[in-house]
Assembly symmetry: none
Homo-oligomer: 400 residues x 2
């Protein structure tokens, strides 16, 4: 499906849409438990809503493909994740809440240790503490003198982010990371003519950084990976005529929302605050993306019981969404993160779509096993946005 | 989905995958029987496995499209059958177990009868017996003198195969078959410049063949169809990093497996031997394609009872696969061949995927009707390979 078609079909007016996204919600049965996390959780409100909704399973990318957070979110926002890509440097900058502009090229920094011959002895500089990382970033910032604006921001341990800002900078550069220890860092190399100037800036940057870090015991150099220019996607306003607000308490998800042109609520406390913010801002927007992070975090930890708890907490807050009476409520995930696997996985995600206009199916419990018997069947996640728009009466007929 | 992406995602290491393919397995209820062949068959082992698996239905090409054996197999191996094509000449050569090389152009031969004016009086030369066919092929081989290496191999009745072998031969030639009787065979015509030399060789071949066959009472000429160059597909090793073995007792399926780069067990006896070979070769490979032909043959014959018997025999051998403990077992078909229709059909094929990492659904019987309630839903068959790779933990995450 060519989503550009939606620009012609989307209406200015229509109902409001709430996306309640439980990150990594999809799960698996795990030893010692009587079902998946969602099956084990007591979710009377979600189940009641499911029994009045149309349900199904969604594939974020393609059956069998495990997505990262970026592509998984793009899909549910209706941006084909195989077509819309962001580089790893950009994702790293989004992940720490750095507000990128269209003049920016971002790359991931690894502080590393060079031996006396200038070869990489440790690609992670002994995993220096984050505190040390902060000090090094400040030191670099204070001493560097580049021909363009730049930012150096710590992430965690040995990882940081470099952002170069300037007109006409390309992001098509090879990594300087030699990948293996025992080799010298690679020279910056541009892969397209538009990135020639960036390569020169990076060369200068690395030259100066080496001198500035020379007296450091561990992190006496850095290597760069995942160069990428920040190209915001066409906005949800442009594509769907949706004036959209993101409520998320992790910087990465606020960054992804900004990338598709959503307004972003700057700071959020806990889950209860997120639901309060939704109510407070409800009159001002058409579309709301409310992101719950901890289902994913506990899944990654393999903490089945804690993931169950978060699901139950969301369930208890759900009536606050219902009270607002949006035309469409979607409850789903971006991807699965089964506690059993302690990682993102390829398993399809359960979805319910509630609307006065939905064709209610026979599903009476909101979980991964029940949902496949729902009226949506199994669909690519990228189809979710058109379903939401349709139920909100925001799409015209295609063709006469 | 662009399957080239898998080259970046596929890992060198991971679990083993067994594809147990019952050719033409999908069926229909037929008068006098209480269900489809698979429903009627007593399959305690398949049913038990289904109750521990994720099940669904697959469309080989597209809903409603009946596939030939080639495209149907390409799909389950993950090669989009609308993109990967082999010409009919190549398929005919594969079908008799002819080992094609990349320097080969193959075409189908029909022995035919010309009248005195040189017009085709019988496009099948009265369906001469296969014995007669063999004699004619030998006669041609013994007398022809071409400017390149060539092979003429009998198939059945009036059908044979021509293979021209040489550097730089193109396969883009029009048929010489006039399609209707009462017309002279067409002159060989090249459809692209690279095939000019092939056309000249074919012209010479036909000129000589006409003289050699002139005294034959029935098959006094031949017509050529389905010219095609043999272009092996990118291998399963290249695409998926799977070292693969095919165990199949019909030449056609060994040929299809060779086309995607599998190692092929040269000769196989009966079904029991196939399962024994699987066990013997289990340590040496990552992926196993075990092909059961007779479900299809009996389907084509309209022999419902015999097809049921074959399914039951496979069921009784299934525990031998389970004992090997592969990470992934897939049981499915290439396409449906309902006894009721006595031919391939468009009906989707039932599939079960068993793995410790699968999300077990509520399906408790392995048959066409139960499977649609399974967690896989209805998917294109080409998605099967990514699901198998994912469950074998052989795919990295897509994007960050």
């Amino acid at each position: 499906m060519d989503y550009n078609i939606l620009q012609d079909l989307a209406l200015e007016e229509g109902g409001k849409i709430v996306y309640l996204i439980l990150d990594g919600l999809g799960g698996l049965r795990m030893e010692g438990w009587e079902g998946t996390e969602l099956q084990v959780a007591r979710t009377p409100n979600l189940d009641r809503l499911a029994s009045q909704s149309v349900c199904g399973l969604l594939d974020p990318i393609w059956p069998g493909i495990t997505p990262g957070s970026g592509p998984a979110h793009f899909a549910i926002f209706g941006y084909d994740p195989l077509q819309f890509e962001v580089g790893r440097g950009v994702l790293a900058a989004l992940g720490i809440g750095f507000q990128l502009t269209e003049r920016d090229v971002a790359a991931r920094i690894n502080f590393c240790t060079l031996d006396q011959e200038g070869k990489v002895a440790d690609r992670r500089a002994g995993r220096i503490p984050t505190e040390e990382n902060r000090r090094l970033c400040a030191k670099l910032r204070g001493s560097l003198n580049l021909g363009t604006e730049f930012f150096i921001e710590p992430v965690k341990e040995h990882r940081a982010v470099l952002v170069l800002r300037g007109e006409g900078l390309g992001g098509d550069l090879a990594d300087t990371d030699p990948q293996k220890e025992g080799f010298a860092p690679l020279e910056p190399k541009f892969l397209s003519p538009e990135s020639k100037r960036t390569a020169e800036l990076v060369k200068d940057f690395l030259h100066q950084a080496k001198e500035i870090l020379a007296d450091e015991p561990k992190a006496n150099m850095l290597i760069l990976r995942g160069f990428a220019k920040y190209n915001p996607f066409p906005t949800m306003e442009e594509r769907y005529k949706l004036h959209s607000l993101a409520i998320a308490n992790y910087p990465m998800y606020r960054g992804l929302a900004r990338l598709v042109g959503m307004d972003v609520w700057p700071e959020v406390g806990d889950l209860k605050d997120e639901f309060k913010l939704l109510a407070q801002n409800f009159p001002q927007y058409d579309f709301f993306y409310l992101h719950v992070k901890k289902t994913d975090s506990f899944g990654e930890d393999g903490n089945f019981a804690a993931k169950v708890k978060v699901i139950e907490e969301v369930d208890s807050l759900l009536p606050q969404v219902l009270e607002l009476k949006p035309e469409v409520i979607v409850v789903t995930a971006d991807h699965s993160t089964p506690s059993k696997l302690k990682s993102h996985s390829w398993h399809p995600i359960p979805v319910l779509l509630f609307s006065p206009n939905c064709r209610v199916d026979e599903v009476e419990r909101f979980d991964e096993i029940s949902c496949i018997k729902g009226g949506l069947g199994r669909l690519p996640a990228v189809a979710l946005i058109t379903l939401a728009l349709a139920h909100a009466r925001r799409l015209q007929k295609y063709g006469a």
